[in-house]
Symmetry: C2
Subunit: 364 residues, 2 copies
């Protein structure tokens, strides 16, 4: 998608054969491109959330393997790279999936052919992600379109949580892909953007990318969505997912569950948009999805821009008070109106998922 | 309650006959006492939330009338003071209630007797609030005590939203009063403190006052409570209220509804603690409670303390993005396990409220 009229992806191979990313820890106040030249830098980028979002983490991991193999193409180096990348974030299944893809391609090859193959496969994985997300958008826009006839003269209000836009993927996004297509088609969409504490991915990233593309939106505190739904100000919710269990339970950014409860209580459709690589066929339900506990400092301190334009970090909690920071929660399938995948929209159930993805084997 | 071992109330008549308050916009990083000498200053204190919390707003309004009457004891001045104070915050019913009390006392008196009577009634209203809240605590501690036998060797985890502690009242608090008494009795309580965006009253005020009193607590993002409830880490929820309708629907800080939904979904008891002055017998249900829309800047900007100790305000949203800021939501009575009042605990229903408060006439 575009920033100031220039088309970007979130990750690409730069001219100097380093891997370039948009440093998302600097958004929305600074647009900075960072360059990765080693697997250690790739791990650092994932851990510090310079790149984040399940699909983009997968893409970064694939390039991380490529960077490792370029330095040392041995089996031992491949094993080490996969191990350190796999441990960089625990919740997103795309990370493990991308590493599995890379391992499958590289291990059978003689070491001297591995580097070229690794960069080629990583680039292909990025292209596939952009293409998959575009298809998610095409599937999901039909849901938005259904609301248009009831909204003559008004806007279609869509609530989203966290950032599942193009910045969370290689391009297009998952939850936001249908919204971009709807907007480009001329449907009068307006997005309620949950700020998404503690890291404010909504206020910082979703608001930034929607604004850059010209999509009308309003940032709200995470607390506000229930009230808006009670008052008919939300027509539907679309969120992304970090992992979807075989029964349709979906792990996503902490607080997603609360919005799903409110949507259910108010009869507002609640959709989860995710590519097939997000589905963990090994898990019967969401109870076994590991939930990352992140640094308490993400709760106690907030970074933003002062009036003078400087970037500053302030403590907002009472001095001495402890904080806890679970990063994800699991929304039970019973609260989900449907899953928007690149292959179609289906109900959040084992039967529907199996029907859409026959075989239900672990994705390769 | 105490700060650094010194007992305080949130509002008191100072030696120079000004009305002293703890400036809550400066907490938790600075402890500053402000002095009000006019009704305009009282209105400013309420509007800018130097004082906040429904009971404390009522107390400030009562003293605001006294300050006005000291300057001009005419009926016209009384009318003007009541009008400007009534308009200072729309949601808390205690404000209207306190003004009605003051009007009832002052209007029958000859002007030259009004100032003394006004200060006396305001002081009495403060004493009554402290005493009422102490009784709410005594009623509510029984609910906490019920959890103790199941928690041998463990802690009783109580989640609260916003600040309904002593800082929200004249003393003791509403939702936190039972917790202070439980803690003082030696019950092993631990409080999950919702940070309560956008104004962070939980992170700043609830955490501050619990810490000052020595009550174990942990600050969490507002998004986290549902996840904690799903995992059995919350034994009960206690929140305050800004207005309770005759059927038990309760308006409280934005986001309360989401926690009530999660509590209901997970079988966690959810209690609303409020004095009788919070009950609006004129409203059959919560649908008619006016919900204040506050400045968008409360969402887009956050104030805190930098590493050097300076107080700074930073913008956290993407530049140019709009924000909306509804300040309260209404939790339907069906999601509330019970109301903790100074007269007893009752179910959130018209019948139970009428039984506890026979007559159900507007409070005087």
């Amino acid at each position: 998608m575009k920033i100031d009229g220039i088309p970007y992806r979130t990750i690409w191979l730069a001219d100097d054969a380093s891997v370039a990313i948009i440093d998302q820890t600097r958004l929305p106040h600074e647009f900075v491109i960072a360059h990765m030249t080693s697997v250690a830098e790739a791990v650092y980028a994932i851990k510090t959330m310079q790149v984040r979002g399940a699909p983009l983490i997968g893409a970064m991991a694939a390039y991380g393997v490529a960077l490792a193999i370029r330095a040392d193409a041995s089996d031992a180096a491949l094993d080490a790279a996969i191990a350190v990348l796999a441990a960089s974030r625990p919740t997103a299944i795309n990370l493990a999936w991308a590493l599995k893809v890379m391992d499958g391609v590289l291990r059978p090859l003689p070491p001297d052919q591995r580097a070229d193959a690794a960069f080629a496969r990583a680039a292909q994985l990025c292209d596939e992600d952009a293409s998959t997300n575009r298809r998610i958008g095409e599937q999901g826009v039909a849901i938005i379109r259904e609301h248009a006839p009831r909204k003559v003269g008004g806007v279609i209000n869509i609530l989203t949580h966290c950032n599942a836009g193009w910045l969370a993927t290689v391009d297009w996004g998952t939850a936001l892909a249908p919204i971009y297509i709807a907007h480009d088609e001329g449907l009068p969409v307006h997005v309620w953007v949950d700020e998404t504490r503690p890291r404010n991915q909504g206020a910082a990233l979703t608001a930034y990318e929607l604004g850059a593309h010209g999509v009308p939106h309003t940032v709200i505190a995470d607390n506000a969505g229930g009230h808006l739904m009670q008052h008919g100000q939300v027509d539907l919710c679309i969120v992304g997912a970090d992992r979807v269990a075989a029964n349709g339970d979906a792990a996503n950014k902490i607080g997603t569950y609360l919005k799903a409860l409110a949507a259910y209580d108010n009869g507002v459709p609640f959709f989860v948009a995710a590519p097939h690589s997000t589905i963990d066929w090994q898990l019967n339900d969401g109870g076994a999805i590991p939930i990352e506990e992140r640094d308490a400092r993400e709760v106690t301190h907030i970074t933003g821009r002062t009036e003078t334009g400087a970037i500053a970090t302030v403590q907002v909690t009472a001095p001495g008070s402890a904080a806890a920071n679970p990063a994800f929660d699991v929304t039970p399938a019973r609260l989900i109106s449907g899953l928007i995948t690149e292959r179609g929209v289906c109900s959040a159930s084992a039967n529907a998922l199996t029907a859409l993805f026959p075989g239900s084997t672990p994705p390769q």
